[in-house]
Symmetry: C2
Subunit: 287 residues, 2 copies
Amino acid sequence: MTAELPKTPPTATLASGDAATRSVYFVSDSTGITAETLGNALLANFPGTRFRRQTVPFVSTVSGAKKILTSLTRSREAGENPLIFTTVKSADVLAVLHASDFETIDLLGGHLRELELALGTTASVQPGSFHGLGDAERYFARMRAVEYAIEHDDAQSFRALDQADVIIIAPSRCGKTPTTMYLALQYGLLVANYPLTDDDFPTEALPPTVAPYAKKCFGLTTTPLRLSQVRHERRPDSVYASLAQCTLELRRAEDLYRRNRVPFLNSSTKSVEEMSAVIMQSMRLRA
Amino acid sequence: MTAELPKTPPTATLASGDAATRSVYFVSDSTGITAETLGNALLANFPGTRFRRQTVPFVSTVSGAKKILTSLTRSREAGENPLIFTTVKSADVLAVLHASDFETIDLLGGHLRELELALGTTASVQPGSFHGLGDAERYFARMRAVEYAIEHDDAQSFRALDQADVIIIAPSRCGKTPTTMYLALQYGLLVANYPLTDDDFPTEALPPTVAPYAKKCFGLTTTPLRLSQVRHERRPDSVYASLAQCTLELRRAEDLYRRNRVPFLNSSTKSVEEMSAVIMQSMRLRA
């Protein structure tokens, strides 16, 4: 029953050349994470358009889909021009979305057909739940990795350092902690991190705590100006945040990396996702 | 120059009915995260097939693509039957992949065309970098959220609790910390968490520390058996891990949530991604 919704060909609602903000709805039968990830990756290719995003998770029934359409119809009456990205798998629920006159981009369907062909087998009819518990062993490994990351953040503990997949070393505020958390939460890697302080620099060797694990070490650096800015946020007008101190610490850290053949990257223009990808590739940690 | 690669129609390499493990390569011009996310979401629909996954990030040149094909050809000679998922945007690089005789599923291309139609405008020709720094303001908000989460994990700090978007409360080992980290890292939400201990149960009200922020509170519970198992991993054969103690704490926690109208969920069958989606939906935190 979608009779209450006006039916016009999709092209009639194309806002060609419309410079206004487009409303984008990520409609999922599960968490919405896949729809957000791919949807946002696609939208990033249209830097000239502004988007207002809304995620609608757990839409697994026809009545749930109809409720969304009612809400979208109201949004349109209020001047919005909604666009739907969906990862819903149920043919019935999808049919409701496609039968509406809102632009609906099905992010999974076509690829599932391609994959059925490639694998020579049929896709399961269960609703998608890639972001559910799924492979329990892999899931609990990720949860343990988060615990390990928190226990080993900022050299708080040296217990079980031999179990680390990677030890990230860097001067304070180069991005160790968020990168550590990302590698743990997304990939279940055991990641410790160790801050390089003034005490670590008089010698030419790695700090004694991490020296036995030199092959697990990965270094971060950044630009002195960027580091100084970030440190000023934490401790304004301190020696710690001064450009001179930042320049010195970064130069010493880079020397230390080179002397000890520790691979390193400059974090100033990289996201945690990019740093994680580089670290995994460099340390051959990527499955 | 792909002349060294054998050219046969794609169907000739279809391993129809092949029950062996399939090798899957996520080939990206950036981090590979979008390819992994969508690719794995698709593979989850084929529970009867086993997959060996490999991510190949930062493939942005024709020569990079040819190097991969060389490596895939070697894998095939070793008995593998590789399948490529790609989010590469460059037409030249894509052409190299498509010209090979490996099954190649282009995860972005078709949708970009759909989106161009829907938006009435042309996609940028820049390589994709959705997982780059992108919107700097949003990115640094996520990084600050990770700091906030670590500072406020397990009631370590009560500073700036009024700034929290949500305060997750639960007995020990119900999943507060990984859920907190996920909400911070993925969505840039300011999340504190507070453990309910025996001391918090004699009264009927929320613990004094979080009581002023009752409307920001979200509770977690689990099953006594699951909680007991998880606690045994940390402190084997302790009162803390006993089924009786777990049953008592969970019953008291649920009573507390109900009496104070704190929304809550059972974490025993939910992933951190699912819990995060429920929390955001329930607290109307989802953009």
